[in-house]
């Protein structure tokens, strides 16, 4: 579990100004599922899973995912944005235990 919070962000290899770019991002995270005791009762505890993903580009939020435990372990998220200027795309993953994991990708034209 030492890999928890590892983030990978993938952009297409060549981007032209004004293109709508599709981003793939992956985070290593257990996304704990609901556990039950032997009687089938839900064990009440603070489950560790990602509940918010925020993607920003040039200081503007382009996409927000509010997620639940119905999202898989080591989830991937795909979204698009319009690349207008060179800059940094930042994706931040927040989990229920206050963990914050960040991944960035440079938007370059060429």
């Amino acid at each position: 579990m030492s890999d928890i919070g590892k983030v990978r962000v993938r952009l297409p290899s060549s981007i032209k100004p004004g293109d709508v770019v599709r981003v793939r991002s992956l985070v290593i995270h257990p996304m704990e599922r609901i556990e039950r005791d032997s009687k089938g009762k839900i064990i009440d505890k603070k489950y560790l899973y990602i509940n918010r993903v925020v993607a920003t580009y040039l200081g503007k939020t382009v996409a927000v995912f509010d997620t639940t435990q119905s999202v898989s372990e080591n989830p991937t998220f795909v979204f698009s944005f319009r690349a207008t200027d060179p800059g940094t795309l930042t994706i931040t993953f927040h989990d229920t235990h206050g963990g914050k994991y960040e991944g960035t990708a440079d938007v370059k034209f060429g």
Binding site: R33, I34, R36, G40, N51, V62, T67, T68, V71, F79
Partner: protein, 162 residues
């Protein structure tokens, strides 16, 4: 990660079997869980009523494309993507996209909030599916129109466990 896949799958299958047996007892009594604003333990009807109330929902099959495998061999990881035909201008854009798995105990898998900057309303994620059932995408446009599409997915091994 790879080396553990078989044992993990077996463990998931076992968990699923236990969980399914118990679900009948607990489904009728939804309870709040910690810090879950979007998803709660509830049936899909309760979830849709809670979020959308009595707002009319149109069939979005011409506009919304829900891409998900018809048969999911492993319910623990099911890729789903939603494409919406939309100009994505400040006057007319896709505001939110919900992905709902009817048979999951937490039916709302995730909600995506977009803005006109997105350029294209195309999103995707990997979700869990507990058992065979419908998966819906519900799209809210900037003018408040709700569009819904759904597709049935057959799940060989459930991935929601307890």
């Amino acid at each position: 990660m790879r080396d553990h896949s078989i044992s993990r799958r077996r463990a998931l299958a076992a968990l699923g079997a236990i969980g399914l047996g118990a679900s009948g007892l607990t489904l009728s009594a939804p309870r709040p869980t910690h810090a879950q604003t979007v998803g709660q333990h509830e049936t899909v009807d309760e979830a849709l009523k809670r979020i959308f109330g009595a707002r009319p929902m149109k069939d979005g099959s011409g506009v919304v494309k829900l891409d998900i495998p018809l048969i999911a061999e492993n319910g623990a990881v099911v890729p789903v993507s939603v494409d919406v035909t939309s100009p994505m201008t400040p006057a007319n854009y896709v505001k939110t996209i919900y992905v709902v798995a009817d048979k999951n105990r937490i039916p709302i898998a995730f909600r995506t909030t977009l803005g006109p900057e997105a350029g294209q309303a195309a999103i995707g994620a990997t979700i869990r599916l507990g058992e065979t059932g419908d998966v819906r995408a519900i799209v809210e446009q900037s003018d408040g129109t709700l569009l819904a599409v759904k597709r049935e997915v057959k799940v060989t091994v459930g991935g929601c466990g307890g």
